[in-house]
């Protein structure tokens, strides 16, 4: 399975690496993504571990949320890691939360994707 990271997610991963050197949160995210991708491609939803949530499907694409497995409570809070999957292609989307209590809506995810397209257009 080939995993691509949206440019914004790539920047977020770099920022996380800088601010969480000891925990190496970025490495944990990469490991979790790799593990989740394997499950998604090989197992039916009923066998997914509890940290992979299938949020929905449309056309050939599915949207999953993964909860990053790291030691200690709260380290991954403030981050949302989503995977958009289609056959052997997975896009990794990472969101930063402005506040722990803030909830993401589908509208904001769509806005993020539109911004990704704009940033790709600039490269």
């Amino acid at each position: 399975m080939r995993v691509y990271i949206c440019p914004k997610a790539h920047k977020a991963l770099k920022d996380i690496s800088k601010s969480h050197k000891k925990e190496d949160l970025a490495t944990k995210i990469k490991e979790s993504v790799s593990e989740a991708s394997n499950f998604i491609s090989q197992k039916p939803p009923s066998e997914y571990p509890s940290w992979i949530i299938l949020l929905g499907k449309s056309g050939e694409w599915s949207l999953y949320k993964i909860r990053v497995a790291i030691s200690g409570k709260g380290k991954s809070r403030g981050l949302r890691v989503y995977l958009a999957c289609k056959n052997d292609l997975t896009l990794l989307l990472i969101f930063h939360l402005k506040s722990k209590r803030e909830q993401y809506t589908m509208k904001e995810i769509l806005e993020f994707l539109k911004n990704c397209l704009v940033s790709i257009g600039k490269t």
């Binding site: 080939r2 995993v3 691509y4 990271i5 949206c6 440019p7 790539h10 990469k30 993504v33 790799s34 039916p44 939803p45 009923s46 066998e47 997914y48 509890s50 940290w51 949530i53 299938l54 949020l55 929905g56 499907k57 449309s58 056309g59 050939e60 694409w61 949207l63 949320k65 909860r67 409570k73 709260g74 809070r77 958009a84 289609k86 292609l89 896009l91 990794l92 722990k100 209590r101 803030e102 909830q103 993401y104 809506t105 589908m106 509208k107 995810i109 769509l110 994707l113 539109k114 990704c116 397209l117 790709i120 490269t123």
Partner: protein
């Protein structure tokens, strides 16, 4: 075509149902008791989510009722936590778990139009994949 999350093979267990209903019952009596039991039982956002998703497939109106109960409990806790001098760290943890649960449910319930937009946007991003960084 949008498919609402379907976790085939997963069923609501009696223990899940008991935990969930008992917690909601306790909430009506006392916020402190509710929070204490929340930790004793070790109920997490994921438990609430899997329970509600299972219920969602079995009985949508019942599921909506529980989602509304959680929504109310979050609002109530948020409002009264300071007044009751509850442990702020515990309250924050519970609120973020519950909020994340509500967020997941809201995404699962996104409209068909939004799911179509999602599919369209990620397809366009994937077409540009040679410009995307890889993991």
């Amino acid at each position: 075509m949008n498919e609402v999350i379907s976790l085939e093979g997963l069923e609501v267990t009696y223990l899940q149902e008991f935990k969930f209903k008992f917690l909601l019952f306790c909430l009506k009596i006392s916020l402190r008791l509710y929070l204490a039991l929340f930790y004793i039982f070790g109920v997490t956002e994921k438990d609430l989510l899997s329970y509600t998703v299972c219920l969602f497939n079995q009985d949508k109106s019942r599921a909506q009722k529980y989602i509304e109960s959680i929504r109310k409990s979050v609002a109530l806790l948020d409002k009264r936590a300071q007044m009751l001098r509850l442990n702020q760290a515990h309250v924050e943890y519970f609120l973020s778990e519950a909020n994340e649960f509500l967020e997941d449910i809201s995404l699962i319930n996104a409209s068909q139009e939004q799911w179509d937009q999602f599919s369209n946007l990620v397809s366009r991003i994937a077409e540009e994949k040679e410009h995307l960084p890889t993991i």
